[in-house]
Amino acid sequence: MQTRPLMKLRLETGPTLDVGAAPEGTRVTFPIGGGSFDGDRLRGKVLPGGADWTVKRADGVMELDLRVTLETEDGALVYMTFAGIRDDGAPDAPYLRTISRFETADARYAFLNRLLAVGKGVIRTEGPEHALEEVL
């Protein structure tokens, strides 16, 4: 499997919405108040309004389901989602890995419509930071 760096994505999370014990697990929503991203091919800011709708499963693993809108520094809007898991019981915990997809109508960034990206995340005090790599 070959990958190449796509971007570093830093998310600013607001106070969580603790939905509680849902049928599928413990549901906690992390609103995204903003953030930034930068890579060789794109950089800009994360717009407020997105969130990560997480569920902690019975086996302790958290399922991640994120939707955000990115705005590049030259004005393109990109809708981004990722699905992933955060396993705080893994040997090198947390195992925070995601698969991202993108949609944009801006021709300069149409390459994003054609790729899958894999992400490796770390939790910082100011919020999570994800290193996203394009799957080649």
């Binding site: 898991i85 890995r97 997809r101 419509n113 054609r114 894999v118 490796k120 799957v135």
Partner: protein, 149 residues
């Protein structure tokens, strides 16, 4: 990104149900007739249920939505599902459509499989993210799946 081989999955596609032009694109459902999977930590057969719900978007990219069941050689059942993308130069995509075997590096065919099982021996599959490279053969795809470390 660090990764290690999880397994290869060979799937036999036994015909397509061509739904046609739906609002989002061209919908076709590939029926799965069976197959095999093999890796360092698990091996067995693909059960003859499941399918690949594909959508040909207006930008020419094929979205894949695969669902199938694996049965290990020691009889654990594992749900597998994946989202993927397939696209490439027109001549490569046309050759695939004609049922030819072509070099998989000539096109982009990548998926992100997920797994679910209730079997304790294979519970590690519930806790990993993986990426697959596909090789579309005339009788069905071969996926080489790597666990993201």
């Amino acid at each position: 990104m660090d990764a290690r081989l999880l397994m290869t999955v060979q799937v036999a596609v036994v015909g397509a149900q061509k739904i046609g032009a739906v609002p989002l694109g061209g919908r076709s459902i590939g029926r799965i007739g069976g197959g095999r999977f093999e890796g360092p930590r698990l091996r067995g057969r693909v059960l003859p249920e499941g399918g690949d719900w594909t959508l040909l978007r207006s930008d020419g990219i094929l979205e894949l939505d695969l669902r199938l069941t694996l049965e290990t050689d020691d009889h654990a059942l594992i749900d597998m599902w994946s989202f993927g993308l397939r696209h490439g130069p027109p001549d490569a995509i046309a050759a695939l459509a004609r049922g030819e075997v072509i070099d998989p590096s000539a096109y982009y065919f990548r998926t992100a499989p997920r797994f679910r099982t209730g079997h304790a021996k294979y519970a590690f599959l519930n806790r990993l993210i993986a990426v697959a490279s596909g090789d579309r053969r005339p009788d069905g795809p071969i996926y080489t799946i790597h666990e993201i470390l």
